[in-house]
């Protein structure tokens, strides 16, 4: 595809919310999620000349955000806010003021309990609203793997949500 000038302001306007949600699902921390989102767009602004296919900007942004998050994990291995154990995530979610709806916290709790190999695919599907092709590109895995992980991950999530269901929480229909 012929490359045209990136309209960064439109891209920010369209994608900062889903990108922030994805960042929050990774970090479970409002400030860190905001930093990751800002940093990701700044990288795009600096490297826009290297983005050859503007139709893949969305995947590029989510890939970059995930890479930055993992880089931060590696460089700050003792950072308490990025601990990925489910019980720790629950506490951080509960402490955060960002989740105005307890429903979102319930879903994030359940997502945290899904096997890690499935969780990332589910987060990109639900939070980033990526297609299976975009998820495959973001995680650099085959399309078939995306589909099988989505299928298994959704089943795990359904079971977890059923277990945690309460009047305030999501109530999946019987399967």
């Amino acid at each position: 595809m012929v490359r045209t000038e990136l309209d960064l302001e439109s891209i920010v306007s369209e994608l900062y919310s889903p990108l922030y949600r994805f960042a929050f699902s990774l970090s479970r921390n409002e400030a860190q999620a905001a930093d990751l989102t800002q940093e990701t767009f700044l990288i795009l602004a600096k490297q826009q000349a290297q983005v050859r296919d503007i139709t893949k900007i969305k995947s590029w942004l989510f890939t970059t955000l995930r890479r930055e998050f993992l880089r931060g994990l590696r460089s700050q291995s003792t950072h308490p806010e990025v601990e990925l154990k489910p019980e720790h995530q629950d506490q951080l979610v509960a402490d955060s003021g960002v989740l105005k709806a307890s429903d979102a916290a319930t879903v994030l709790e359940a997502l945290a309990g899904v096997d890690e190999s499935y969780r990332m695919v589910l987060e990109l599907f639900y939070l980033a609203d990526l297609s299976y092709k975009e998820i495959a590109a973001t995680l650099d895995i085959p399309i078939g793997t995306v589909m099988s992980r989505l299928s298994r991950g959704k089943e795990q999530l359904r079971i977890l949500l059923t277990k945690t269901a309460s009047p305030n929480k999501i109530t999946p229909r019987p399967n």
């Binding site: 699902s25 960002v98 429903d103 979102a104 297609s131 959704k154 999946p172």
Partner: protein, 255 residues
């Protein structure tokens, strides 16, 4: 394709408007016509996906996040243009395309104004505040500095602004036109920026009137004595109105 294979494929299906045309889903969707159990499973799954997405939408970004991102991007744009290599390249372009540039200066309209607005906003919203040549609370000193550097300025500022302290000023060149930035310290401590440039720099562009919001910034353009003046601040709209609308409406004290 058996039912399990169809379920695996349909797990990746989002909605008809986004995925309906994808051939990989068509076969699985067609299979539903003859498989009522698969159809029921699919409908429940779509229902559940919709509910989960709605609930996750409860994760709201901070209210000022978009504005912060845009400000950082604008700051990066300014920084990139400040790199020596870029200036060298720009100088080379000026030499090679001098004539074309001359005509473009004369002929460009709205794009030129938009470009100026973008660059001016990037300058005033740079992280840590705009770069200033002179830092002083004394308006007279800023005006003297701009005069010495032959930068356009408003020598007939309204009395209200004359009594305010300044943060400082800067003389710069935009597209070969001298320009200036003066930063006032408002009573609430926030800065009010005044960018002045010769109106001619905008070519035949129409200059919009009225106040605009750009992210969490409030901006207003004003024309006076052949100059284009841009007022910009992050102060609350009401305070900005009180300050700038009065400035624009106040009778001129002279030129």
């Amino acid at each position: 394709m058996n039912s399990d294979a169809a379920k695996e494929i349909l797990s990746a299906y989002r909605s008809s408007d986004r995925d309906g045309a994808d051939p990989i889903f068509r076969e699985a969707l067609n299979q539903m016509e003859s498989d009522s159990e698969l159809k029921k499973w699919f409908e429940e799954q779509q229902d559940r996906d919709r509910t989960i997405r709605e609930k996750l939408a409860g994760i709201e970004p901070p209210a000022d996040l978009q504005a912060k991102i845009l400000a950082r991007i604008r700051g990066e744009k300014v920084r990139r243009f400040a790199l020596p290599q870029v200036w060298l390249a720009a100088a080379a372009c000026l030499v090679v395309g001098g004539i074309a540039l001359f005509y473009s200066i004369r002929q460009t309209g709205p794009d030129r104004f938009q470009e100026f607005k973008t660059d001016a906003m990037a300058m005033v919203s740079a992280e840590g505040g705009p770069q200033l040549d002179l830092r002083t609370p004394d308006l007279a000193e800023t005006q003297n500095y701009l005069r010495e550097h032959q930068a356009p300025r408003d020598d007939a500022l309204p009395s209200r602004l004359k009594s305010m302290e300044t943060e400082g000023c800067r003389a710069f060149v935009w597209k070969q036109y001298p320009a200036s930035l003066t930063c006032f310290r408002m009573p609430n401590g926030q800065l009010l920026h005044l960018v002045v440039i010769n109106r001619e720099a905008m070519g035949n562009a129409n200059i919009p009137v009225g106040m605009k919001s750009v992210g969490d910034w409030h901006v207003m353009f004003q024309q006076k004595d052949g100059m284009l003046m841009m007022w910009a601040t992050q102060a609350p709209m009401e305070e900005f109105k009180q300050m700038v609308v009065k400035v624009a409406a106040e009778p001129r004290l002279g030129s």
